[in-house]
């Protein structure tokens, strides 16, 4: 995929400030990229502001990310990206345990607690899709009507069936590898005859070892019986194109992004570091969509430009302009301010940054819900050693898991979850294989061939399960701002107040129980240990657990049916501001048990066609232009 050379440099702030764009988009991640691409292909002129650094993406630039990751001592999600105090990012390595009454303001997030979240997002061209894992599960039809069915959470203002065509758009854009027959469960339905763009990626050997023990296991929950089965996950990474796609037209996989044609990324090579970075870009990242949008020539982009305030016309609520601060180089304290104008404005900076910007602009909405209902999946990890060599560390990070407890009547009482089988062993829980290596060298005095044998013997038995537990919207889980906490460009930082609700903790407790069952069925020795001093330690019913964040942020400008029960309508348009869209995970009224990217991408496709219609009919631009 060609990234047009010079496209990140050709627009200057002065020229941009003198233009009235059809749309001004804040944030160049997947949401912003999809909307920029759809609008520009409909002939609209688009300006994208990106807070993080943004140079033309080419292979040497991408390799800089890779080298930084390879050289980093910590291999966390943000390890490929240079730290940038001008547009800071949350980082899991910054998180500390919060003492009650003592908020932790030592890093970008100001964390009130009581739970300290290690969730992250990335401020760079391409956004968090640079380090996403690439799982592309659809939400269950029942996820859209949780309140009606189970008396929990909120119903969505759109149904699964209404979103289904947009799921297909998103699956095309991301390039999803999966087989319909594996993914049609718990009511998930597909258009008749549909096939995914690419064939499903195979289960890993480790998945098959687990399946041998687990498949057919029956568990009773809420008076019903569920049968467990290891199934492959749909993946946003290139596999074998399905010749039957698109009525027999097939699908052409999108390879690596660069200013010149490169021959890589066309197919997943099974590297084991999808997170934080696919070495060959076989995994989708939003640079692929952004490059396409830039190819239209109708998309201008201003990197290192942090949107700092949304200004509205108090008379009609319409957004008149967005103020920004632009900094000359990474980590600079210097900045200059300016404004940009458009007929419509789109905030696509993720659930936390969208809310932060709205609140920093004094826009809390009629509902008062901006920033509230912050959600993220609560991950519980469980780890053990299998009795046989299971080929751990072969294949991409996660190829298969168990989805049978994602839905069911038990959700009236407790959260559902999906279970990931991690091909990267104890990596997330214990830092394997690096920690194993240090241990074998420092504590076991092994070197040379002995070291190699011992390391392989140890890691190839590892089994780590990750339970992705649903968290429902809760108004007291929130993002706020406070003028006493600012970053070095004088932008207010996100102040996070967050706790894991009991509904989710009941799911967590059941997840732990399920992990014991799975270890028993596979003959694995359970090595799980939850350290009470860990920042993610949480207790429920006398038991302690360590919970990790999922980087699946939602809820902070959730969609609904009226201006009183929600911030945006079903097209993600702000009820209070008719030319403002808040898009992305923040619009989701619940996050179910699916990694959110596919669903938020589907929502963005749906919103983009609404924007195009609005731009066609809206007569207001002349006034804006005159202002």
């Amino acid at each position: 995929m060609i990234f047009p050379e010079g496209s990140t440099r050709r627009t200057d702030h002065k020229a941009a400030s003198e233009t009235v764009y059809d749309a001004v988009i804040v944030g160049a991640g997947i949401s912003g990229a999809i909307i920029a691409n759809e609008l520009s292909r409909a002939g609209k002129r688009v300006l994208v502001l990106e807070a993080g650094p943004g140079e033309d993406m080419d292979i040497p630039g991408y390799d800089d990310y890779l080298s930084r990751f390879y050289e980093a001592a910590s291999k966390d999600n943000q390890s490929p990206f240079a730290s940038n105090d001008s547009a800071p990012m949350p980082r899991s390595t910054d998180v500390r345990r919060i003492r009650p009454g003592h908020p932790d303001a030592s890093a970008y997030f100001v964390q009130n607690g009581p739970f300290a979240t290690d969730t992250t997002y990335t401020r760079a061209l391409g956004g968090t899709t640079l380090h996403w894992e690439g799982k592309t599960l659809r939400m269950l039809p029942e996820d859209f009507e949780l309140q009606t069915r189970y008396g929990q959470g909120r119903d969505w203002p759109v149904s699964y069936d209404e979103l289904e065509p947009h799921y297909r758009h998103a699956e095309r854009e991301i390039g999803v590898s999966a087989d319909v027959e594996d993914q049609a469960y718990l009511g998930i339905s597909f258009k008749p005859g549909y096939v995914y763009p690419m064939r499903g990626l195979p289960l890993s050997y480790l998945d098959k070892v687990v399946a041998k023990g687990v498949d057919g296991t029956k568990v009773a929950l809420g008076g019903e019986e569920y049968e467990l089965k290891v199934r492959p996950f749909p993946q946003g990474r290139n596999g074998i194109p399905n010749p039957g796609y698109d009525g027999g037209k097939g699908y052409r996989p999108v390879g690596a992004v660069s200013t010149n044609q490169v021959e890589e990324g066309g197919r997943c090579q099974g590297n084991n570091n999808c997170v934080p970075l696919c070495p060959v870009q076989a995994k989708y990242n939003a640079l692929k969509t952004l490059a396409k949008a830039l190819q239209t020539g109708r998309v201008d982009i201003l990197p290192q430009t942090v949107a700092s305030k949304v200004n509205i016309d108090p008379g009609n609520g319409r957004v008149t302009e967005i103020e920004y601060k632009t900094y000359p180089e990474v980590n600079s304290k210097e900045y200059t301010t300016g404004t940009v104008r458009g007929r419509i404005f789109v905030l696509s900076a993720n659930a936390i940054e969208n809310a932060r910007l709205m609140l920093a602009s004094g826009l809390t909405s009629t509902s008062g819900l901006v920033g509230r209902n912050l959600m993220d999946h609560a991950y519980l990890l469980a780890w053990g050693l299998l009795p046989e060599v299971a080929g751990t560390f072969r294949g991409t990070i996660c190829t298969g898991g168990i989805c049978d407890l994602r839905g069911g009547t038990f959700r009236g009482e407790q959260a559902g979850f999906a279970i990931d089988i991690h091909n990267d062993g104890w990596g997330w829980a214990m830092g394997s294989p690096y920690t194993d290596l240090v241990n074998i060298v420092d504590d076991h005095n092994k070197f040379g061939a002995d070291l190699r044998r011992e390391l392989i013997a140890r890691i190839s038995h590892q089994l780590q399960l990750a339970f992705m537990v649903e968290v429902l919207p809760n108004a007291s889980n929130r993002v706020a701002v406070d003028a006493s906490f600012k970053d070095q460009l004088d932008n207010m930082r996100p102040v996070i107040t967050y706790n894991i609700p009991d509904y989710s903790m009941r799911g967590v407790a059941y997840a732990r129980q399920t992990s014991r069952r799975i270890f028993q069925r596979t003959g694995a020795e359970d090595y799980t240990m939850y350290d009470p001093t860990d920042y993610g330690y949480a207790t429920y019913d006398g038991q302690g657990y360590v919970i990790r964040g999922g980087n699946h942020l939602g809820g902070t400008h959730l969609m609904g049916t009226t201006p009183r029960n929600s911030v945006v309508d079903s097209h993600q348009r702000a009820w209070d501001h008719e030319n403002l869209y808040l898009v992305g995970g923040g619009s989701m009224p619940s996050i179910g048990t699916s990694n959110i990217t596919l669903t938020l991408a589907a929502l963005c496709f749906r919103s983009a066609s609404h924007m195009i219609t609005q731009l066609r009919h809206d007569t207001a631009p002349a006034e804006v232009a005159a202002g």
Binding site: I59, D63, Q269
Partner: protein, 352 residues
Amino acid sequence: MSRDRLKDLLQAAVELELSTIPPYLCALYTIRPVGNDEAKLVIRSVVVEEMLHMVLAANVLNAIGGEPQVTGDHAPRYPHELPDGVVLHLLPFSPEAVDAFLKVENPDQSYQPLAADHPLLGGRRHQHHLARCAQSAEGSGPTTIGAFYREIIALMEQAAGQMGEQQLFCGDPARQVGREYYYAAGGRSIIVTDLASARNALQEIVEQGEGDMGSIYDDDGDLAHYYRFKQIKHGRAYTGAAEGDPTGPPVAVDYDSIFAMIANPRSEDYTDPDLRAASDAVNRTWSELLLQIEASFNGTPEAMLPAVHSMFKLRDEAIVLLANPLSGHAGRTAGPTFEWDPSAQADLGMPL
């Protein structure tokens, strides 16, 4: 008669394309991990084009009822002589290797084979393995690779005219390696079922191989391979539409940051048992890879999937050799010999 002649020529084409790959791999693998970024990128992109050419030639051969072979006597041996007289050596990344690549990328480049007493060869030149295409060509053989393919196209048109297109293209379509199992490496595979698709496939090879020497940029606006190698040779980038030698900003090239493998190594050079075992492992993997490729050309196209794993294995095992200094060769290291191992057995296990 003419079908057999065509089969011979296309089999020679498959071997020709295969034989170009190990020299590029040697250059690529001998570059140390840090630096020489542009060299790594251009060599890699050429390697994958050569792989595509081999697949395209095999598809054409299959389409006329042939059975492409790449194992045993059909595997290359180095130094390897191409039909146009170019001799392919296994060399580390070096000015001599870049000159050789410039020659392979541009048939108009004047070619001076390395003299037997060239310091890089240091008397290590072996008996040439003359490519089969040169042996099987009538008379003195073609003078350029382009001419060789044009001869095949002409013969194919002639044969189709004589026996009928359907008669000529009698191969089983299930033996074609299509886009499901081959894509995003140098271009797209072409399924060959008739004269038009066969012509497309062979012209793709010729065009990618020779390029349009009238411009330094290709249809995608990218600098053509030949000119990217010129950038390496001169350590300078092209700017704009400039022709001739590049004079733009420096391109970082460091011929010292390499594993200096000996030229055209052979198994018998490795008298140390550990080194010999490491070399045998590389050759076993190379041979397994060839068996997988051959299976994919003979009715099991999905064998391309495990072949990808073999390529990673080949690289990792080759680097083990390269990291070992070779006694008796001051400052030089061992390197992959790319020899056929008759005892190799391929894992054709399908991950699906």
